[in-house]
Amino acid sequence: MNTATDRAPATISAPPPGDDAAWAARLAAREPAALREMIARHGAALHRLAYRMTGDAHEAEDIVQEALLRLWDHAPALAGKHPPGSQAAARLRLGGWLQRVATNLALDRLRRTRRLSGGEVPEEEDNAPLADVVIAAGERDNLARAAVLALPDRQRAAIVLTYYEELPNAEAAEAMDMNIKAFESLLHRARMALRQALAAQGDAP
């Protein structure tokens, strides 16, 4: 399990302009190597995003797989809209497209789970035996996890995208299909809720 060092998406290097359009064209041509490259580039970041949204590693894997398969399915349409060498190709960002899909999939699953269970998503118990050396870290992990999972779904998504994935507000708003003003208001409320949760734990922010 990663520690706090996995917060920054430093592993995803910014592709050169138009590069994603070339990858989309290769995906549209049904090249498995292209899909493998997309998994290598974006899989980890998507998994972090999905896990922090759902709090469930298996659910997060399903979300990442579904997002990548949707990219595989939509690649012909994306390649058609962004032909390599065009101005539209320079604007295509497959990472942002995947983040938007993964965020929506996570929100959909949380909504569906809540509707089926009729209440809040229960915090999952970790039944694995804890070693003494990781007890302290585990307590801190559980505290942060509880605070993040206690947020409303969209506020949680805002925190995950901006704090953990370090996206600019504009890109995070785009990933959530919101305008920038509404997103900033949502992010403001999420930070307030987190500070209240931290204050409730007796630790001053």
């Binding site: 399990m1 990663n2 520690t3 706090a4 996995d6 917060r7 498995p32 899909l35 493998r36 998994i39 290598a40 899989g43 980890a44 998994h47 972090r48 896990y51 922090r52 590693a57 997060a60 894997e61 990442v64 797989q65 990548l68 398969l69 595989w72 399915d73 939509h74 012909p76 349409a77 870290a137 801190r140 992990d141 505290l143 942060a144 996890r145 605070a147 993040v148 925190i159 704090y163 953990y164 992010l187 403001h188 409320r189 930070r191 307030m192 987190l194 500070r195 209240q196 931290l198 204050a199 734990q201 630790d203 001053a204 922010p205």
Partner: protein, 310 residues
């Protein structure tokens, strides 16, 4: 420090702050080994993507709205045309202006209403006016009739009206004979045999022809008089054309009052008149009839209708 003591609880999270330290404790696991192979296998087993929608997604929303508006306008026009063609608007008392009226309203070139197509002399028969309006006249009659051309045109119009009346008269006779035979058959009475019916029709036709012959003779005599007057440069008067003196306004008003009464009241009003008034009215009526028809050598058939007034 509680959250209320923080200057801005919604401020960005500063790295290294207690909140940031707490959030950094929420670590995410790595993707499991073999995840990429699972995704690739699922992609291989994935069915082929659906084909593109027929409607191109690049079509602008504005054009889609315009297309719907155009379809709506065309549908409304088709329905309105169908309603006008089937007479539905007339049943609903909705007036549909003609294209000429609309164009005249747009261009301001509307013709003044009531302008006669051809100015007929005031003395021309009233019944001839519609026929003259429908049939394009070779000679325009302006003012009183005082030229041979205008007189010839007047004769032509009068002949048209007379021909129409003769035809109508024969149609009415046929209708009356047929209805009478039908009435007798329905009542169980004896109906005339075809030979009897043929004889009846022959007799009626003979009387009708004699009547028209008398009328033609009277018309020819009057036309000779009119032609002489026109050749002498005189203008024709109403009396020349109709063959009778116009009734005085008092007489006309009295006739109209009697004619407008129901039959029972008309008889009562006739009885209420003084003997002198009754005699004067009877003389006037007899004079009108005498002018209208020359003395008949035989009885007028029952089916006859009033003679043409010229």
């Amino acid at each position: 420090m509680s959250v209320n003591e923080h200057p801005d609880p919604g401020a960005p999270i500063v790295p290294g702050s207690p909140l940031a330290r707490m959030l950094d404790g929420y670590a995410a696991p790595e993707l499991p080994a073999g995840f990429a192979e699972r995704v690739l296998a699922a992609a291989e087993a994935r069915p082929a993507p659906l084909p593109e929608l027929r409607r191109a997604p690049s079509r602008s929303r504005r054009w889609r709205i315009g297309q719907r508006i155009a379809i709506g306008v065309a549908s409304f026009g088709a329905l309105a045309t169908a309603a006008a063609a089937t007479g539905l608007l007339e049943q609903l008392a909705i007036t549909v202006p003609s294209a000429r009226t609309v164009w005249a309203g747009l261009t301001g070139s509307a013709q003044p209403a009531g302008k006669p197509v051809a100015a007929v002399a005031a003395a021309a028969p009233a019944a001839a006016a519609p026929a003259a309006a429908l049939t394009p006249a070779a000679v325009a009659i302006e003012g009183p009739i005082d030229t041979p051309e205008e007189l010839g045109e007047t004769f032509r119009r009068v002949d048209e009206v007379r021909a129409g009346r003769c035809e109508e008269r024969r149609r009415v006779i046929d209708q009356r004979i047929a209805s009478e035979i039908e009435r007798r058959r329905a009542a169980g009475l004896r109906v005339p045999t075809p030979e009897e019916e043929a004889r009846l029709r022959e007799r009626i036709e003979r009387q009708l022809a004699a009547r028209e012959q008398r009328a033609d003779a009277a018309v020819a005599a009057r036309r000779e008089t009119m032609q002489r007057k026109v050749e002498n440069g005189e203008a024709l008067t109403r009396e020349d054309l109709t063959g009778r003196k116009p009734p005085s306004p008092e007489t006309r008003e009295r006739f109209r009052a009697l004619r407008d009464l129901p039959p029972g009241e008309r008889a009562k009003a006739w009885r209420d008149l003084s003997p002198a008034e009754r005699r004067a009215l009877a003389d006037a009526l007899r004079a009108r009839r005498a002018v209208r028809l020359p003395p008949a050598p035989a009885a007028v058939p029952q089916e006859d209708t009033p003679p043409p007034s010229e």
